[in-house]
Symmetry: C2
Subunit: 459 residues, 2 copies
Amino acid sequence: MSAPAAAAADLASIVGERNVRTGAALRPYLSDATEARGLAGSAELAVLPGSAEEVAAVVAWCYERGVPIVPRGGGTGFAGGCVPLGGEVVVSLERLRRARSLDPTLWRGELEAGLTTREVQRLARESGLWFPPDPGAAEQSQLGGNIATNAGGPHAFKYGVTRAWVTGVEAVVAPGELIRVGGPLRKDVAGYDLLGLLVGSEGTLGIVTSAWLRFIPPPEAALPVVSFHADPRSGCEAIEAALASGVVPAALEYLDAGTLSAAAGSFPGEAPSGAFMVIAEADGAADEARAGRDALVGAVRDSALSVHAPDSPAEVAALWAWREGVSIAVTAKRGGKLSEDIVVPLDRLADAIEGTAAIGARVGVETCSWGHAGDGNLHSTLMVDPADPAELRRAEAACDELFALAIELGGSISGEHGLGLVKSGHLRKQWPPRAVELHEAVKEAFDPRGLFNPRKKRP
Amino acid sequence: MSAPAAAAADLASIVGERNVRTGAALRPYLSDATEARGLAGSAELAVLPGSAEEVAAVVAWCYERGVPIVPRGGGTGFAGGCVPLGGEVVVSLERLRRARSLDPTLWRGELEAGLTTREVQRLARESGLWFPPDPGAAEQSQLGGNIATNAGGPHAFKYGVTRAWVTGVEAVVAPGELIRVGGPLRKDVAGYDLLGLLVGSEGTLGIVTSAWLRFIPPPEAALPVVSFHADPRSGCEAIEAALASGVVPAALEYLDAGTLSAAAGSFPGEAPSGAFMVIAEADGAADEARAGRDALVGAVRDSALSVHAPDSPAEVAALWAWREGVSIAVTAKRGGKLSEDIVVPLDRLADAIEGTAAIGARVGVETCSWGHAGDGNLHSTLMVDPADPAELRRAEAACDELFALAIELGGSISGEHGLGLVKSGHLRKQWPPRAVELHEAVKEAFDPRGLFNPRKKRP
């Protein structure tokens, strides 16, 4: 029996034969959204454990034998965080789909990692509650992946990223042990923040199998204001004016002219060609949302070419559904894209938007950018033909320049995608050497054999 | 020259002679709020660096020589986290008091660790903004101490604890190096969450010298509803009813009968004797706060003896000023107290309140409890005469039982005070052994010589 075949047989004894994937059945477990930039993974084996205990047994089997492990959620990441590089066992969480508990009156639940983002949102809604994190690809992305990347989304501006909504996790850590940190507790400072370490660790410190989430009642109404501006500078003026309005916007987004042109076809309304778009949303009780909306209209109007404020729930839903499709529309334009997630201090947003365009012009690749303006978080994007290797190489080089730009502007190379494979090696340009050493020491503390998601999230 | 004298001379060359404290001048640097339970510290030397660079130089001096360090903020902690045990150099941050930057239009600022909580709140207010964390002793407690304990307060229920408002820190870590993690950035997932590790680490991983904070515009109005109930069970019914009302309360507090009786003298209103008090606050735009207040009144009324809803800003301010004084009023009752900060899942709150009383009855020490009901965070308190060593011993034993109770109810031994000295050694009862190992490994990674705040926050 070959080594992979022997491994498959061993692991089948843990997860059951039907839950081991090899050969052609393995294909869906080898890539994520970085496929659109030509990143292809390689592995000989994926397993689909049916319980947290099975995940622990798989990890124990791997850890004992020095076999590396790649945890996998919905495979919608933009950093290659779940792409195996050859030799790993892929551990897919897709069968861990139980709501272990759901307490509507206590605003909380314990949900397993393999539930999709949409299912988590739906479970909350059916309880009369709301789970605010809203990263893209909600139908496919999974709770475990959201936690692994500390996912954000448009409404993170007011409501915070995934970390803010996770009060505890169950996780498998080296050498294959199931631990619980936190729980159905809204406060806990007893130990160091291991929970915060696991969130955003991209499967390099352990595998989250379930999480205690907190929810809140949804705002009664959410009313977005869409404004169109002549250029990034006047758009950024509107963004700062929205902050000065006294309203705490629920979301504060932008799309530059290139993004808007890629996605304009399906925009539910009139989008002036060549314009820069800002979306500022007010939420709360119906009256408050309306008053906030009016204040935001007043704030952005001065620098706007036109303002559009959808009023009915159907129009509002259509706007956000369109917004969620922007990433796909941009991909469609040339067949592929390299889309990053740099962060800058808000007062450098216009510089980052213009800098993105300048980098694209320099390397000869078409760019666009959009994102979570209020959080200074840009999806700076290079649009490419994935069949053109020379263009792909130029675009990869441009990404390195993007990371350098973010750092130069006092920002971060990643706001919500994580380092994965794509940005591994760039952290040491952002952090001082001693902080990088501490990053490494944390990894060593959790994963002394370096088997959890190797080559990912490396400084 | 004696060893302490030689050390004083060396350190004076870093911080200046006038910023070294010895002998009688050292006394204010030896204790915190645990003095009321008889905890007295001991040290021969405190230094007051005037800049982050001086803090780094002091730490480097200590680290090279194996001299332990106790960082100190305002000294208002309840866990002995800043109490030296003999042989340490106390490093007080009180001279680091600059607002390095303040950007009202960008809702952010970089403030040094030695500013008091009240000063931070005032700086935000003067910028038209709000810094929501509101731990007690705001006149005395310092930003650095708030960060070291990840302090909460009544409004943490809606707005989160200190961690939620810190986007970056500058800190001195071993062996005496100044690092920056995060910054004026609202999102950052580039590296492991070292920021989250430092927050709440009680000076055992490093010394925070300044922090980037985020602020928000304050709610236009905040309207509390005070209800009085016959017993803890009916009070907890009101708390759950407040959650079911659809309002997200800004604060959701309780005071049991013993607490209320200790503090009733200064209560701005009528407090029925022997009652259990609940405070639920609605905030937002004026209309929304009023509607929320009405909904909360409706929710708590059914289980209440009476309801009191102060309406004017002056009355509301008086209520919260009184609430902030509760801890002192309870101390005053017998001259001393042991006040803990256990956390339980919200559905176990009544059990924890009754359990606190039962423990007190068993050991023969008068108890009371109050706290952040919505967060399940209780200040379970034993009222003692500090001059009675036998009673103090009984009360200490009772605290151990309180920690066991919290763990038995699925909770945590600390929600906002931290482990400090008082709870050191109890974490291993709460966490699984592997998580405790990871806690230890994190400490080892940051502080290989174990010189940062020894014997504090030990599992």
